[in-house]
Symmetry: C2
Subunit: 234 residues, 2 copies
Amino acid sequence: MPSKHTLTHFDTELESIRKRLLEMGGLVAQQLSRAIEALSSGDMATIEAVIEDDRRVNEEEVALDDACILLIARHGPTAGDLRMVMTMIQMITDLERVGDEAKKIAKAGRQIIGSDVVFVPKVELRHVAAMVIDMLQRALDAFARMDPSSSADIARQDKEVDAIFKGIMRQLITYMMEDPRLITRALDVLFIAKSIERIGDHAKNVSEYVVYMVRGRDVRHEGIEALERESRVR
Amino acid sequence: MPSKHTLTHFDTELESIRKRLLEMGGLVAQQLSRAIEALSSGDMATIEAVIEDDRRVNEEEVALDDACILLIARHGPTAGDLRMVMTMIQMITDLERVGDEAKKIAKAGRQIIGSDVVFVPKVELRHVAAMVIDMLQRALDAFARMDPSSSADIARQDKEVDAIFKGIMRQLITYMMEDPRLITRALDVLFIAKSIERIGDHAKNVSEYVVYMVRGRDVRHEGIEALERESRVR
């Protein structure tokens, strides 16, 4: 039976990791929005900064994983406390991958900005990027407030993002057919859209972990109906 | 201090999870190889079976995650034991994503088989798929034997896979430029190649977790030199 002293230590450490994890979430959301912004404005310095800053995200992944494992080793949490730490460990992985996708977007952006491509569907990319940033922020907010009520909504947004991605792909195919010389650059744009779509998946993952954390039920692979059920106020 | 009784229970449970995890690894490797095989032979029944069987992979992900969390809650492992459980938790996620990619390959394969596409670079796709299956099996084997010595090699294979992917992409761009009507189908092939390339990333992740498990050092993001160092026999 842990002493009250131990419990307090656990809570303090947990709170500190939770705070850093939310900061990491803020950082990767910012990385994405900077990459998309720079793609529109052609600002190469920002592109390079996004690529460079992915290192910070990677370092944070390693440090936070360490902190979570140390927390388990020191305090042997069970039940809700353990679910909370497990949720954080899963979230760290997803947030790091969001950082990776932002870096890939910046790298593809570098190719595009340097060339004379004029057909980049900037409006659509900005629109879908704004959607996944919103999803990510709502998922992080759900984690911060331990409130899974947005999860079904986020899953619905994810379906919408998939549909927009398909629309962008069709548009790019039209461009490529009209002028096959554009194919190489169009594929850079396609991979950017694909990265944004994947970030939507990661945001959905995070929101599903929050359901698990709060409700103790694993709703991955169970569809929007299960999320609807679990996200209702009890 | 846990009793001997508790320790034995822990070891038995750990061994059972370890075995199931290796079976899950075998299953997803098989999913990939069936998807690629069916793409070559045009066997639509296998394509559908791969898509259907992804459900088993998802169920196994949820069940194994549960088992790991229960193991921690019951026994409060520390040090090497805890690292082992953490490694397994990370591996479960990567293996599930390998299953997802195999399913995506099968779905893209369904589009291609149904059409009259003749330019699919079957030899290259089979070659690169065989490479990532080898990487995956070596990584699983490293986990089974708790032997990180293959990790630098696997990281090198991953670089080779990336290079082959770029080659396939260039080849597809040539096809698309020659006959823009092929663009839609060529993109299906491109996404298949991309999925295979991602499976290589997952295999590399698994092999890096094994280094962490055995050496206690987190070598993600540190490059091949760190893997070389840690994979040397001590």
